[in-house]
Symmetry: C2
Subunit: 321 residues, 2 copies
């Protein structure tokens, strides 16, 4: 398991239980499928969504039997979207290891994602409520919408900041928000506290995605686990680029219009984005979301839980500035 | 809507309500997605699964508010699997019209299938029970397993009849069986009747798939809505071929070993399969399943409903013999 939570034995132990539930529920006759998913489980994701769900749940009356399966489902839904996103993005690497679609082919990846979806709803039907199933399926629909909007906007130089923010809200922040909300609600927190936690999740998710998009311009393959400029090469225009495109930079525009982009083009684009303030402005916006999250966390009931949330949010969102 | 049910106004009217629910639930911001699904809804599928669910439900106390959404979900789950299967099979045509993956690309098709899945579970969470959600997600997992097994068995000349039957049971008969069972159970039929109806669904599903596989050898594009030999070209070896392969036909084997198959190869394969009894034996097995279905239907409580089921099963399974 990833070391991200190792300083917090409470969360870490909970996550180990969650992993056990995931491993139990991906068992199936087709060993290739089971192994492909196992590799994904073991590839060292930070398990942010189940961890946040658990932390939120600890603000109420923590019931392992309800919380662990819910947390497992959120990670499995996330895994399903990763497997299907990698088909669409034609991604070769994820978390530094080969993607399912690259290793087993797109065809298997379609069914592996579907299988994960099915198992999620099976777990929910056995351990959760109709209300949670509705919430989870609604968020999953919105994630699909976000991904489709992103795909439809490929190579579109007119995408506004507003549209970008709406997209990342759907495709990323919603699931963070749901993690916090459903953890809180399932452990009996009052609606006001649950909504506050959900709002914290939203802001963390927004900042997290913006930082992820910045890393496509500034990160190194070693750190990020995927090669630089992959977004640009695929026609995915994210915040740093959108900010500079808004200024009608004709130099940038003409490079983007090229039939295919070489490594030197990617470097040139990144240089333009950096020198025209695209990174700086994106960082500023990520910081605004981060600060909103911190301000909300500060108003939470005192205790170990609040401290863990403060520390890990800092670790997550102040990492590569 | 397809004319298959037009002789039975009761079923036909119910199906129109089901279609309304489907159309309402595929509404979304991304109009391309909504339109792609609408085209699928309007492409004239026979709506077998929702229709059988409705017929089964009419053996009990028919409650529209519960039955219609359940029926809508079964058709939508079926549509989701079609969209994803067409990605894997690279199919150009379905029901005589262009497939989603061919018209909009595989990437959209991935998300359109996912979106349909999500909306299914949303409908279930609003109108159904945890028990139904569990049954539906279990069957969907098994359909995935069937599809994966089929995909893993491509170009495998050793596939046994037993393995083929297990595959089509998972990928096709399970959903038919579920349609009957959940219709009966939701309208309060006793468990014995529900299981009998489920068994009828299983046998109809098995016969239906075998006939579909025979049509890849004997049908015409005009009738079947897709070109002949598509299964063979893709390395999908189905019952008629499996029967002849079991006899170690070296001529057949050597054609199958070719790097790529021309139209004349397909014709030759079909001719060998026909002359060595592959079609005949497959038809005989389809008939056995059909007869099992009829025998079970004959033991059902008398009434209009039983007659409709007898007539439509005949229409469906005795169509192209």
């Amino acid at each position: 398991m990833d070391k991200f939570w190792s300083e917090y034995p409470v969360v870490n132990n909970d996550l180990e239980e969650v992993i056990k539930i995931i491993k139990k529920n991906i068992k199936c006759k087709e060993k290739l499928v089971e192994n492909a998913i196992l590799e994904l489980v073991n590839s060292g994701g930070k398990l942010l969504r189940p961890a946040f769900l658990i932390i939120a749940a600890r603000f109420g009356e923590f019931k392992e039997d309800e919380i662990y399966p819910l947390a497992a489902v959120l990670e499995m839904l996330h895994m399903a979207t990763l497997v299907h996103d990698d088909i669409v993005d034609d991604s070769k690497l994820r978390r530094g290891t080969e993607t399912v679609q690259s290793k087993y082919g797109k065809d298997y990846a379609v069914y592996i994602g579907d299988f994960l979806f099915c198992r999620c709803f099976k777990i929910l039907s056995e351990h959760s409520t109709l209300k949670n199933i509705k919430a989870d399926s609604n968020v999953m629909s919105r994630i699909c919408m976000g991904e489709i909007e992103q795909f439809s906007s490929k190579y579109n130089k007119q995408v506004s900041v507003k549209r970008y923010l709406k997209r990342i809200s759907s495709k990323t922040a919603e699931l963070f928000s749901l993690s916090f909300y459903s953890g809180a609600a399932a452990s009996g927190c009052d609606e006001r506290l649950a909504r506050k936690l959900s709002n914290i999740g939203h802001n963390i998710g927004m900042a997290f995605q913006i930082i992820d998009d910045i890393l496509d311009y500034t990160g190194s393959e070693e750190v990020v686990g995927k090669s630089i400029g992959t977004d640009i090469k695929q026609g995915l225009y994210t915040l740093p680029l959108i900010y500079v495109l808004e200024k009608k930079n004709s130099n940038l525009s003409s490079i983007l219009d090229k039939e295919s982009l070489e490594d030197k083009d990617i470097k040139e684009i990144a240089d333009i984005v950096k020198s025209f303030g695209g990174i700086e402005k994106s960082r500023a916006l990520a910081e605004r979301y981060t600060n909103k999250a911190f301000n909300l966390i500060n108003t939470l009931p005192e205790g170990e839980n609040k401290n863990i949330l403060l520390k890990t949010t800092e670790k997550l969102l102040v990492r590569f500035y």
